[in-house]
Symmetry: C2
Subunit: 253 residues, 2 copies
């Protein structure tokens, strides 16, 4: 679509990027979405590289992916992305995942904040670059993203199910545990059989950064037979509940 | 190079595929090499897909990667691959990793066997498809791969340094722990600082398959100040040394 408001990126589903059923790993799909977001922003002068000049950076706050059908090994798919709205400190970015023939196999929603790299505080997106971001908005009327919005989490009776250490491969260029690795670690909580029909929806809310060496504790509660909430807390010790790093909801088919 | 003997594949170094220093993860680079190998084979009628017809499949036995300089975030690199030789049950495949300007930043060597999927035993590559594979050989005289061959491992005083469980994200479409995940888990044994100048050489020998749920024990010995051998054994219990799954050597810059 050239320099319109919506960009579409081709993605090839590689052999080492699929699970034992042949479906793309949710974390790998998430990575492709984040790349599409990054490229779409960069092309319009809002990429991480441009922002470094003014000491700003994007922070992913929410990501919700809902798939009617997971792409499988050797599939050629397309990921389209656009900005749906900007609400002062946050922007909503949507995604459509389509098969080679153009039919949709899923959608995703995300929320991002722009932070000042010195203060780590969010910025007013409407005043940055003289509100330039408003030029890229594609309203819900123009392009529908027909999946539910991000839900609210209420942890009532979550049980500690695993504690892990974090290592070299978990960390990104900023020294943080990378957004995608949380997804991997969360999926690793479930037995092989849970994935036999694939994942219907995966939702994650990023709350705080964690760093290499942090211990992550995973708390889980069942929402329904096929739906689970997970809360990840860092550096939980006896008598100290630690800090919430992220929260996720997973619905299996 | 069209349908010659050497193929070259472009690779873009994605933001989530680099470590805290900005260099591509060795496991991600390994994945790109395996994809190049798979595509090169498939194009010549020797891909996994073709082989399924005759119930044969490729098994990676050795992989050695040596880098004078690790590609970094946002780099565009090229991976060239060719078959160097075939020795009855094994074939040697080499790789060159070059920068956008064509200068090399590293090379790799690999050894593959072809197995019968029923018996799991290696096949005579020279008789399969009437020796067709010989048509694709690029001798060492024609195209040099100027890195040392695969070394021999001698574990004398390796110490147990970690034991991990394996989960959903570790497993590939064959139900095996995936070749790339071993690399990740091995690198995870080292402290952050070890990687500050990057990895010079990484070598791995795959010995046996392991499966989701297998416990992997990592034994480590120092070869020199910056060089380490790691042996991975599965299902080690008291009084049972388990089975060797793979062995690796790692040299840091």
């Amino acid at each position: 679509m050239g320099f319109g408001k919506i960009d579409t990126y081709p993605v090839y589903v590689e052999p080492f990027h699929v699970d034992y059923t042949g479906r793309i790993f949710m974390g790998v799909l998430g990575n492709h979405l984040l790349n599409a977001a990054g490229n779409h922003s960069a092309k319009r002068g809002w990429g991480i590289g441009d922002l470094n000049g003014t000491r700003h950076t994007w922070v992913l706050s929410r990501l919700s992916i809902e798939m009617t059908e997971m792409p499988v090994q050797y599939d050629h798919i397309n990921i389209s992305t656009w900005v749906e709205s900007v609400i002062k400190l946050f922007t909503n970015r949507n995604f459509a995942i389509t098969r080679a023939d153009g039919t949709p196999c899923g959608y995703a929603r995300s929320i991002w904040a722009m932070i000042d790299m010195e203060t780590r505080r969010p910025c007013d997106l409407l005043s940055l670059y003289e509100g330039d971001i408003l030029n890229y908005i594609v309203s819900e009327e123009e392009n529908v993203c027909p999946i539910e919005g991000h839900g609210r989490f209420r942890f009532r009776d979550a049980q500690l199910v695993r504690t892990i250490d974090t290592y070299y491969s978990d960390v990104d260029i900023n020294g943080h545990i990378n957004s995608i690795k949380y997804i991997e670690h969360i999926l690793n909580l479930f037995p092989k059989d849970a994935f036999k029909n694939g994942i219907r929806r995966f939702e994650i809310a990023y709350k705080a950064e964690s760093y290499m060496g942090d211990r992550l504790s995973f708390y889980q509660q069942a929402v329904s037979e096929r739906e689970f909430d997970i809360e990840v807390r860092k550096n939980v010790t006896e008598g100290n509940a630690g800090e919430v790093v992220c929260q996720a909801r997973l619905r299996f088919n």
